[in-house]
């Protein structure tokens, strides 16, 4: 439900207010609209006569951004238009509000879906593949300019590709350049550096880490990075897949480390949205904030006074070369009426031309997955993001994309919140997670 926004990259100057308005819409969508819009999603059935692609053909394109919702919509619209112009295929755009799209995706795919639709890499793609809801795209791969790590992210457990990536965004520790400069602080390289930096911040009356978890999902990012740093990427992924015990020593170590870091975080995170936490960092009340690059949305800037570093190494035997960098892209619906057109379009969507078309049309560019895409519109922050992700050895997709979504939402969100309320009862929290995990995965 609440996901790290796929439209990660700047939605121009979205303020905290506007973002809370979105959560109202989310509520509205639920109390009634959800039913209606599930129908709206499926309402676009139609003819499929004529040629599959090219002149006279139509491909239906479902996107998870409502018309006029900002740069994310503008980019997708421009991409659709560019494809229509280049291939001659008519593109029928079906633009649906972000949360509504996510919440009705199941009904959508099993009804009469569009041929191509926006989606995410990771477990959430894999589970559709396993259930035969999306089309095997392995005959479209490799795609020029998409390297092996993206191919890996597009691959389901059966070894075939079902996904075409277009963009991504990293999770890292953000800070104000001006604040760091004024105080003579530098990004920490090691755990000791980090501890020294945090102590110095506290000495100067600055809360080291901004922190908000009212929506439940932002704190997952903290869990992810601590788990990757303390137990390694492979353990993290198999834990997400339900193959490791949640009440084992490894997970307890993560929570225990987190417990020791909590005094350096903003108090009362459960009543604070990530936008409010970002504002606190923006105003200099807090020194740093661990979040995705969409943090710029709440700050109304695109990296002029914002920089980031990846979370430092915590265990000397585990290199600090993994991070969360959720990938957005496209799938072809198995129940779509025009499979050939869908596949052809999906392949094109992975190209540098598609990424450029999107980035040239919107105020705020995304970070393209394709290595051939132009970076001329990128801000420094985005250029650095691309470098950091390019240099990472392992890329995770974020907890609610790497594991069973219902486990993430119904078990992990309340459990992490319980931990934040009651950080001393680690045994109780981990035991409860394990019991529920056994029931869901078992």
């Amino acid at each position: 439900m609440s996901l790290p926004r796929s439209s990660a990259i700047p939605r121009s100057a979205l303020t905290t207010m506007a973002a809370s308005r979105r959560s109202v819409l989310r509520g509205l969508a639920l109390s009634g609209l959800a039913v209606g819009s599930a129908n709206a999603l499926a309402a676009c059935g139609g003819d499929s006569g004529g040629p599959a692609t090219g002149e006279g053909a139509t491909v239906k394109f479902g996107i998870n951004e409502a018309s006029g919702s900002g740069p994310a919509y503008d980019r997708l619209k421009a991409i659709a238009d560019a494809y229509a112009e280049e291939s001659g295929t008519e593109v029928a755009l079906n633009a649906v509000d972000h949360n509504t799209f996510q919440e009705s995706i199941n009904t959508y795919l099993q009804g009469t879906p569009d041929d191509v639709f926006t989606w995410f890499a990771g477990f959430r793609m894999a589970q559709f593949a396993e259930n035969g809801l999306i089309t095997d795209l392995s005959d479209q791969w490799p795609i020029d300019g998409l390297n092996d790590s993206f191919k890996q992210a597009a691959t389901a457990p059966d070894g075939k590709q079902y996904f075409v990536p277009i963009s991504y965004y990293p999770w890292a520790v953000f800070y104000r350049k001006s604040v760091f400069e004024k105080n003579g602080w530098a990004p920490p390289e090691t755990n000791d550096d980090l501890m020294a930096l945090m102590d110095d911040m506290q000495g100067k009356g600055v809360t080291p880490f901004a922190f908000g978890d009212k929506d439940g999902w932002p704190a997952m990012g903290t869990f992810d990075i601590l788990n990757m740093r303390l137990n390694g990427f492979d353990f993290h992924m198999s834990l997400m897949a339900g193959e490791e015990a949640w009440d084992g020593d490894e997970v307890k170590l993560v929570f225990d480390t987190w417990r020791q870091l909590l005094p350096y975080h903003q108090a009362d995170p459960l009543g604070r949205t990530w936008q409010e936490a970002a504002t606190a960092m923006g105003k200099g009340e807090c020194g740093m904030y661990l979040l995705g690059t969409f943090v710029v949305d709440a700050l109304g800037e695109n990296g002029e006074d914002l920089d980031f570093f990846t979370f430092p190494q915590l265990d000397s035997s585990i290199p600090a070369d993994s991070l969360d960098a959720p990938i957005d892209g496209f799938c072809v619906a198995a129940a779509g009426q025009n499979q050939d057109a869908g596949k052809a379009m999906a392949k094109w969507l992975g190209s540098a031309a598609a990424a450029d078309a999107g980035n040239n049309a919107a105020d705020a560019p995304f970070i393209a997955a394709n290595s051939g895409a132009s970076t001329s519109t990128y801000s420094d922050l985005q250029k650095k993001s691309a470098e950091v992700v390019g240099a990472a050895a392992n890329i995770a997709q974020f907890m609610d994309r790497d594991t069973n979504a219902d486990f993430a939402n119904t078990v992990m969100i309340p459990s992490i919140q319980e931990f934040l309320k009651n950080p001393d009862d680690i045994d109780g929290v981990t035991a409860s997670i394990q019991e529920q995990a056994a029931s869901i995965f078992g």
């Binding site: 439900m1 609440s2 905290t16 809370s20 308005r21 959560s23 109202v24 989310r26 509520g27 509205l28 639920l30 109390s31 959800a34 996510q102 919440e103 995706i105 199941n106 099993q110 959430r124 589970q127 559709f128 259930n131 035969g132 809801l133 009212k214 929506d215 439940g216 009362d268 995170p269 459960l270 009543g271 604070r272 409010e276 504002t279 606190a280 069973n404 979504a405 219902d406 939402n409 119904t410 969100i413 309340p414 459990s415 919140q417 319980e418 309320k421 409860s432 019991e435 529920q436 029931s439 869901i440």
Partner: protein, 315 residues
């Protein structure tokens, strides 16, 4: 109704003296019978198809484990496991039951009684009563989702109005010991106006001569209300009670807007939604929760219906 009334009139005058048998034992002419049967059958079919069939299917689903992908034959039947999990290892369940009960008691004792009090005041035709009436009723027009948003502006810990004015640091929506009460205040803001309007409508319908008679007999205002008006208002009182019970059982939207019914705001309705709304879903588990909610509601409904029928028999 007219037909049934006509029926006895058709009998001979002599028979009228005999106490007429109970209505349903009377023989109806064929056409009337047809009308009655149709009028009963159509609503019955609708109720069965739209209420009972889905309800029974939920009961069936609650014994399975299904994430909504694939056909019905992919449902894995697990017996009572969902129910067992809910009462044993699902940490949100017992708090949710408790919160629903608190919700009911709170709604009943504060906003409902206050709304009735306001109605009585406004009924006295004081100056500007229209303005007050509108002001108190205004929140009812807003959806609870919008109300959640409006109150967020008051309650936000860092940027909210309340903490700003008082210089406090209370985490109104985030602290699980406080947030339920914060949300209840927001609910009360709306509920009061709702009850006020219903009660006011009832008061306007009370025969003015009753008041006059009471006044002539020298009863005070307060006495008149409790001994004359209140008893006459019995049907409205009943409706108010039912509304309060229904409102507290279906309480959902507000907590959903605040934090999706987690962290101190667990309610049964929100738990059902958490489990069945979304891209990957636990239909079985969510259905089991819904069944539990249905059982709780039926207790209230049964009590209410028994009460109503007893009333009618007495009347």
């Amino acid at each position: 109704m007219a037909h049934i009334d006509e029926a006895p009139r058709a009998t001979k005058p002599g028979e009228e003296a005999v106490a007429p048998p109970q209505g349903r034992e009377k023989k109806l002419p064929g056409r009337d019978r047809f009308t009655v049967v149709t009028m009963v059958t159509i609503p019955l079919l609708l109720v069965v198809a739209l209420v009972w069939v889905p309800a029974l299917l939920s009961v069936v689903l609650s014994f399975g484990k299904w994430n909504g992908f694939g056909d019905l034959d992919t449902i894995e039947w697990v017996g009572f496991q969902n129910y067992r999990d809910i009462v044993t290892i699902y940490p949100a369940f017992w708090p949710a039951i408790q919160h629903n009960l608190i919700w009911l008691a709170f709604l009943f004792f504060l906003p409902t009684l206050f709304g009735m009090f306001l109605a009585v005041l406004l009924d006295r035709e004081m100056r500007g009563s229209r303005i007050y009436q509108t002001a108190f009723y205004m929140p009812v027009v807003l959806s609870l989702a919008l109300i959640g948003f409006i109150w967020q502006l008051f309650y936000s810990r860092d940027q909210g109005l309340i903490n700003d004015i008082f210089g406090s640091q209370v985490d109104w929506y985030g602290d699980p010991d406080i947030n339920l009460w914060a949300v209840l205040v927001a609910t009360a803001w709306r509920h009061t106006g709702y009850i006020m309007l219903i009660y006011l409508a009832g008061l306007k319908g009370v025969d003015a001569s009753l008041r006059e008679a009471a006044a002539v007999d020298g009863a005070s205002e307060v006495k008149t209300f409790f001994h004359v008006i209140f008893p006459v208002m019995r049907p409205i009182n009943m409706i108010v009670i039912v509304i309060v019970v229904i409102e507290s059982l279906r309480a959902f939207d507000l907590v959903w807007v605040v934090n999706k019914g987690r962290n101190g705001l667990e309610l049964i309705g929100a738990l059902v939604a958490q489990n069945v709304v979304g891209e990957a879903t636990r239909y079985g588990f969510g259905s089991a929760l819904a069944v539990i909610m249905m059982l709780i509601s039926s207790v209230f409904i049964t009590v209410y219906l028994r009460n109503v029928f007893r009333e009618e028999r007495r009347g």
